[in-house]
Symmetry: none
């Protein structure tokens, strides 16, 4: 075993850890989906506005999941340590 | 033991860690399902709109779970480290 | 100890980690079940629509739990590392 | 120490980790039980429908807990690694 | 293996751990998105104000996710330890 192999091994663990961030957007966007469905049930005539607001907010909530994915992909494919 | 074996061993742990992201969509989409069921019970005539909004939001919430799965599959079957 | 044994040992840990994803669908589907039961209590005549929406949403919420199970089974029975 | 002992040791950790999934159904089904009891208190005449919906949803929420149990039992009694 | 390699290996794990912070903004911003969609459904004429308030709050909620990203990027690309 040499040092670069240890770095690669720990990078694989690090990439897995980074994906755990995905818990957050999954919960948050699901909450938004639930509130969106509830709102559409109450005012079907406002469906367009409700869905647009829901998707805009969900896009913001997605960002930290994307950050985690980017860090994981850096560790996998653009690792600066070797 | 050589270095590649250590990388493989840690990649197996990393793949498992990445799947933990699945907690999020599971909670979020279940919330959306609950709100959808509640809404359909109140306005059965709006069932189509409610279910469509619920599924649209759930699809967005699924994304970070898919990211975790992709990273796990990369670690398992397209590991860039060896 | 040789390298393959280390890979097997860490794959056992990885399979266990992947199952932690099951927390999510368990919470989410339980929420859907609660909202479904609440809705049926209020509008028993809409039971069919409520239960169908609940089960449709619960099926979507199950997906990330299935992903975790698949990754665990791959690690156990179709391990690509040895 | 030989390799099989390491595999057995890590399988014990993996089996324990897999059971953490039980957090989810425990919370979710408890929520469903709470909402079911609430609903029966409000409409005692709908008790049958409420309880059936609650149990149907709870059965779905149980699945990921079962998956974790299966993976743990495989690691304990049908370990494919030795 | 030398010491710098161990530092690099542990930095990869640290970068992954830092991203777990993303759970928080994901949940919080999703909640904001849900409440925003709910509000727009009730007062569509106030959509501009609701969305602006939602985005302002989401920007504040984003900060800790950014902190995690910054620390991860420092560990990856501006590591002060070697």
């Amino acid at each position: 075993m040499n040092g670069v192999d240890l770095i690669k091994a720990c990078s694989a663990i690090g990439a897995g850890l980074a994906m755990i961030a995905g818990i957050g957007p999954g919960i948050g966007q699901g909450y938004a989906a639930g509130k969106g469905a509830e709102g559409v049930g109450r005012q079907p005539e406002a469906q367009g506005d409700i869905v647009r607001t829901m998707l805009l907010g969900a896009a913001v909530a997605e960002t930290t999941g994307i950050y985690g994915l980017i860090v994981a992909l850096i560790l996998l494919f653009a690792n600066p340590f070797f």
